[in-house]
Amino acid sequence: MLEIKDLQIHYGSIKAIRGINLKVPDGSIVTLIGSNGAGKTSTLRAISGIIKTAGGSITYNGENITNLHPEKIVKMGICQSPEGRLIFSNLTVEENLLMGAYTRKDKEGVKDDLEFVFSFFPRLKERIKQLGGTLSGGEQQMLAISRALMSKPKVLLLDEPSLGIAPLLVKTIFEKIVALNHSTGITILLVEQNANLALSVANYGYVLETGEIILEGKADELAKNEEVRKAYLGE
């Protein structure tokens, strides 16, 4: 289980995250929803060790991973597909995927996983030798998720997988996310602005607003919640 206690993140004098608590049980899909600037990406980056925390703790299976080097966190099985599909545009699709497996030493396993992600996203196989930068937005998102999967994570952190993608593809990608969770039992922490979509696939949800968690609950209950509907579902 991934557990966050009283997490605080500061950018200079700005307090982006002001003491949040979060639990991601093994095998579940947990979503963190909230509007722009609420601190969702900061939270994910802190889990990955890309930015330093100002206080609080992040533990994974009881082990403290707060402010560990990103390399070590990836090795422990927590990998992120970053916001805005930060793929390596000068590397081919295949090379991008191999970069995802950078921390792994088992060559055979990497080969198998390459086949696995290709079976999951056949579109990527068609584009295998293409440079990452020439893919469409949706394909880049598939690549970013697949690249994260190549590290064989136990916990997958997804940062806004729906951002800037055609609605039809968004649906496909979310179906894939659920299928992935069902078939491999991978734990997923999903950060989304599209609250409706996120709550429809998640088991549990947290609502983040200006650095604080204002609501939490089972995803289906949150989706019915008056406040959430008003603030995030446009009703």
């Binding site: 390399e71 390596f88 950078y102």
Partner: protein, 340 residues
């Protein structure tokens, strides 16, 4: 592919060796230009590893070159008697001496690269450029004030007096005392220069095409994404910086032992810019492009000698036109590499 590049590397070594046998019959002027081409290829390719492949903008390459150059000529003059007694003055003795000073020059530059790289590579873009520029200027000013290597008058050799006093200039107080002047030995020739050209091309080529080497490209493409994948970006930046500095040091050694005279002004800001221009003109991250740019930018000023005083104006104009018409460089930004 691995085998093919190894074969290519070995055959180029043989070719370099054979050409070297005929080097004596090459016109001295052309020979000089050819050696400078080689040195510039080493400088530009090593900077390309930092600026082109890893995407860190370093403006201090002349500084590393200065460290390698000065340290090596100081070694090969101050310790000339030692080297001559130990290894002799034959071809082999000189070769061993040269290998020692080459490695010393390269290693010293690499160590300084590490020292500068670790703190400054946290900076990005223009900040890094300014830091590295400042560092190169510090090196130059320090050399300018070190009497033991000739300070601002430059360094061409050492007077070793009978009583053991060593100085780069005649010592007035010692008057008539007999001394021997050890000039910087002319070790650099076609073979050594192009041996290192072959080595750096082989090294960078294989590095960039390896699994490890893709780390450099990923750091350039997107640091956050690279970190998310568990890639230690600082390690890659520092290792690019250190190996780039090593080869810049080697280039300095070659330059010193060819020119037989070094002056701090050889390593001023303009020298660093000149190398950066080669990388940008060739196309950041394009091996072939950068090599061609290094060759062109060495030859061009020579061709323009006929128009004497307008030379540098035309040179500058050509650069401007080039940047306006092909801002991505001769061979573009796209990194041409072999397929997996």
């Amino acid at each position: 592919m691995q085998v093919k590049s190894k074969l290519l590397f070995l055959s180029s070594l043989i070719l370099i060796f054979v050409i070297n046998l005929f080097a004596g019959s090459i016109d001295p002027y052309f020979y000089t230009v050819i050696i400078y081409i080689g040195i510039n290829i080493i400088l530009a390719t090593s900077l390309n590893l930092i600026n082109g492949y890893t995407g860190q903008f370093s403006l201090g390459h002349a500084g590393f070159m200065a460290i390698g150059g000065y340290l090596s000529i100081a070694l090969s003059t101050y310790f000339a008697p030692f080297f001559q007694n130990t290894f002799g003055t034959g071809v082999f003795g000189e070769a061993i001496t040269f290998i020692i000073v080459l490695l010393a020059g390269g290693t010293a530059a690499a160590l300084v690269g590490l020292l500068v790289g670790v703190p400054s590579l946290r900076l990005k873009g223009d900040y890094l450029a300014i830091t590295t520029l400042g560092f190169a200027e510090i090196i130059r000013v320090v050399i300018q004030n070190m009497d033991v290597i000739g300070a601002s008058q430059g360094f061409r050799g050492v007077y070793i007096y009978n009583n053991g006093v060593k100085a780069p200039q005649m010592v007035q107080d010692l008057g008539e005392m007999s001394n021997i002047f050890y000039a910087v030995p002319k070790f650099t020739n076609f073979f050594w220069t192009f041996l290192f050209v072959a080595i750096i091309i082989y090294y960078v080529h294989n590095l960039i095409n390896s699994t490890y080497g893709r780390g450099f490209l990923s750091v350039k493409d997107d640091e956050i994404a690279a970190e998310s994948m568990g890639i230690n970006t600082t390690k890659f930046k520092v290792s690019a910086f250190v190996s780039g500095a090593f080869f810049a040091g080697i280039a300095g050694v070659l330059y010193g032992h060819f020119n037989l005279y070094l002056n701090p002004e050889d390593f001023n800001f303009l020298k660093s810019v000149e190398i950066v221009v080669m990388v940008i003109l060739g196309g950041m991250g394009s091996m072939i492009g950068v090599i061609i740019a290094a060759v062109l930018l060495t030859i061009l000023p020579e061709f323009l000698r006929s128009v004497s005083e307008y030379r540098m104006i035309i040179y500058a104009l050509l650069l401007i036109i080039m940047m306006l018409t092909r801002p991505q460089g001769l061979f573009g930004f796209k990194i041409k590499r072999k397929k997996l």
